[in-house]
Amino acid sequence: MADAVGAILLASVTLYAVLAGADFGGGLWDLLAGTTRRGRAPRTLIDESITPVWEANHVWLVFDLVIFWTAFPRAFASVMTALALPLWLAVGGIVLRGAGFAFRKEITRVSLERVAGAAFAFSSLVTPFFMGTVVGAIATGAVPADASHASLAAWTSPTALLAGFVFVAAGGYLAAVYLVVEAGRRGDRSMRTYFTRRAQGAAVVAGALSLAALFEVQNSDPAFFSRLTGRALPLVVLAGVCGLADLALLTAGRTKGIRAIAALGVAAVIWGWGVAQYPVVLPRTAVTLTNAGATQATFVALVVVAIAAVVLVVPSFALLYALQGRQMLGEGEHGTPSAATSGGYPGTPSAAHSGPPSPDHRPGSASRAVALGLVAIAAIARRRRSR
């Protein structure tokens, strides 16, 4: 049961990384988009792609925290104590990013808009970096079993800092890949090229940083390295293959499936980490999945919550991404409204149908059924009213 909950935690961490990671990456590209005039087109695309979904994506973080403290309270308390500083900095980034993003939408004066936008963009850089150092610190066994003091050394080791940079680069890579597809779907050639170039750059940087981290681990933590290249080897190889495949597809100008491959690559890195340190929660301590403080009843309750999440939350996400993918959500200034209805332009619907609306949920029948259900309920309600 503890193993199942561990897998659930790792799965929701993965979802946070591939979904919210992309939102942070969007902030990174917003930051690097240049002057107000030059950055207008990419910023608009980023803004429109993130707006309806970022809050829902962000909830994965809250979910991760709750599962962590419920299932492994001892490990949670230690991590929160030992790594208090980077966690506070990450929280600060989350607050400024969310508030800055929400405020920027409503502000019309350019100078204030710039302040809010800078808060959003800069904190999109800060948050994943410190989260990365936290993961790096845990993976390198820098968190003791019952920490009573914050430790600076724990998260400023070369591996932890490299992990921070890997997180930033991976977010940028995911975001750029998603935005390539988004631009393609809107038929925006110049943005497609723009983000293709950035996706390639980010893929190279993220790959190089990951390799550097791997070499660093080989020197600093041979035991972890041997497990990474031992039982976790297939996942490490998969991550590398996904990165190279996306790089090749992007260079060839193909966009079909690149989002799923990019997400799979990032997921493989996270599962590689998980498999390499299984069944230990805090490496170099005796804290494992089973003895980190929870009882059987708690594990059962969490598995039930996870099943409920699959039943309730996954179809809802599918609906959200499906509607977002068909450009049903948004303020509507860009693109004519008729494109959203079933007729639309001959080009757009096929584009909208071919790519999955999100890397993790196939658009297929489920989301379509939910969308149809919603319309059907509305129709029934209307009929009842007219009676």
């Binding site: 599962i67 009573s148 919550v305 959500l329 209805t341």
Partner: protein
């Protein structure tokens, strides 16, 4: 010498953190709870407006629904991030609590996570689907937000209720050995805490919406738009107020039984006795109540419906187990009850006038009351939280773990507290500034609309294109 040095060191490094940690939790929770109220209740009010707009073709209600939904977008976003801060603080400020009881109180939080998901997902659909989703489909996409707001609130309150009346687990040698999930989710105090907070959320959101339009009416904007806006906020909140007072009264009586020391602090009951008087206002210092009004027997009457009812005083526990600042608890309780009564009177006034004259009351006083009703509801709700949280001190889990044991052993909480105060000050100011800016923008739009005699009214132009086509 050496021993005292160790104690001093421990005080500097460890024990001393619980006061700043409590101050920080109070600041962040006190800020977030206002946004949470809007998150819980505003969707229902927006849906009510949209419902009237769709059903009766009421363009004014429709326009209000669209604008409120924009306000909701800002408040939900800020609420989402300030809520995240709280979940980090559970570990960053209270690792002792999480280490010991994380696996118990985490279960309701997990359920809350589910509802938070649904809320955020459907908020994404509802808030950004105005233009492209057909009318009733759009309305239905908002229903899950309202429903999951209520259930999410219930789940979080389950945790607070559990901290007040813990149960549903067994502890052996300082370790949790078994958990009864059902009992953890519904501890004794849940039955009154859950409805009390959900109703409070609806009152805060409803009266706040009403105040905005009451201010407009006071400024002479006596048009249909303002009266509709006022009514859509005021009427639901005023209808719920008497229920809230009933729930609150029941809650106070149950607290006298479940947490007698908290109740003693609320009512200034120093010694366990019969024929206990009720104090209105007043400050308790060293056994004396200054500037208070004493009503003989009333407290006993309220607790047990008879003057002979015995009420437990705080002398039932040693001084170290009593809340440190009783006057704050008592005054907060009185302010909450007083403001609740004021809001009840405002509702009764409106109901009376409607019954006799079929219109809103005309006196200036009513509209002044309406204008402050939102603030009054917010203050009352915050006072309620002060009562329940201060009243539980020195415990974080009543009778089991003290707040000092729960607090972080890391130094530097004063630093994070200072930063939090500054950042939240900026965010709070910016949020209010943005809402005011939206209001100014809308007023300008309305003026522009009026200047086009034959142009379509604003709300009609906003209809989804698909309906116009079909």
């Amino acid at each position: 010498m050496h021993a005292s040095g160790t104690v001093l060191l421990a005080a500097v490094q460890g024990g001393a953190q619980d006061v700043p940690a409590r101050a920080q939790m109070a600041t962040t929770l006190g800020f977030h709870i206002i946004l949470a109220c809007f998150g819980i209740a505003l969707p229902s009010i927006v849906l009510l407006a949209e419902f009237i707009g769709l059903r009766r073709g009421n363009q004014t209600a429709m326009r209000l629904a669209r604008r409120w939904s924009q306000v909701m977008g800002v408040l939900v976003a800020v609420g989402a991030v300030t809520g995240t801060v709280l979940s980090f603080e559970m570990g960053l400020l209270w690792p002792g609590l999480m280490r010991q009881y994380g696996s118990v109180l985490g279960v309701p939080f997990g359920v809350e996570g589910l509802f938070f998901f649904l809320e955020a997902i459907f908020a994404g659909i509802y808030l950004w689907g105005w233009r492209r989703l057909p009318g009733w489909a759009h309305w239905w996409s908002g229903v899950p937000i309202a429903v999951s707001g209520i259930f999410g609130a219930i789940s979080v309150i389950a945790v607070n209720a559990w901290m007040n009346t813990p149960g549903g687990f067994t502890e052996k040698n300082g370790r949790i050995t078994s958990v009864d999930v059902w009992q953890v989710f519904f501890p004794r105090s849940a039955i009154y805490e859950m409805p009390h907070m959900v109703l409070a959320a609806y009152m805060v959101a409803g009266f706040s919406v009403a105040s905005v339009y009451a201010v407009g009416i006071l400024r002479g904007r006596r048009d249909r738009y303002h009266y509709t806006g006022f009514a859509l906020g005021f009427i639901p909140a005023a209808i719920l107020t008497p229920f809230q007072i009933f729930v609150g009264d029941t809650a106070a009586r149950s607290i006298a039984a479940d947490q007698p020391v908290k109740f003693a602090a609320m009512e200034y009951v120093a010694q366990t006795s019969r024929q206990v008087p009720e104090w209105l206002a007043g400050v308790y210092v060293n056994g004396h109540v200054y500037a208070g009004i004493k009503i003989p027997y009333l407290d006993s009457l309220l607790v047990g419906f008879g003057p002979g009812t015995k009420v437990t005083g705080w002398d039932s526990v040693p001084p170290a187990d009593r809340p440190p600042v009783v006057w704050l608890i008592h005054l907060s309780f009185d302010v909450m009850v007083g403001l609740g009564t004021l809001l009840l009177l405002a509702g009764l006034w409106a109901a009376w006038t409607w019954w006799r004259r079929r219109r809103w009351p005309r006196p200036l006083l009513f509209w002044l009351l309406g204008a402050v009703s939102g603030l009054a509801a917010i203050v009352a709700m915050e006072c309620g939280w002060v009562v329940t949280e201060e009243g539980r001190q020195p415990w974080v889990v009543y009778g089991l773990q003290t707040t000092a044991q729960a607090a972080t052993t890391n130094g530097g909480v004063l630093a994070s507290l200072s930063i939090v105060i500054v950042v939240y000050g900026v965010i709070g100011t910016a949020t209010i500034a943005i809402l005011l800016m939206l209001s100014r923008r809308w007023r300008r739009d309305d003026r522009d609309d009026d200047s086009v005699p034959y142009g379509p009214p604003g709300a009609l132009a906003d209809r989804p294109a698909s309906q116009v086509e079909s």
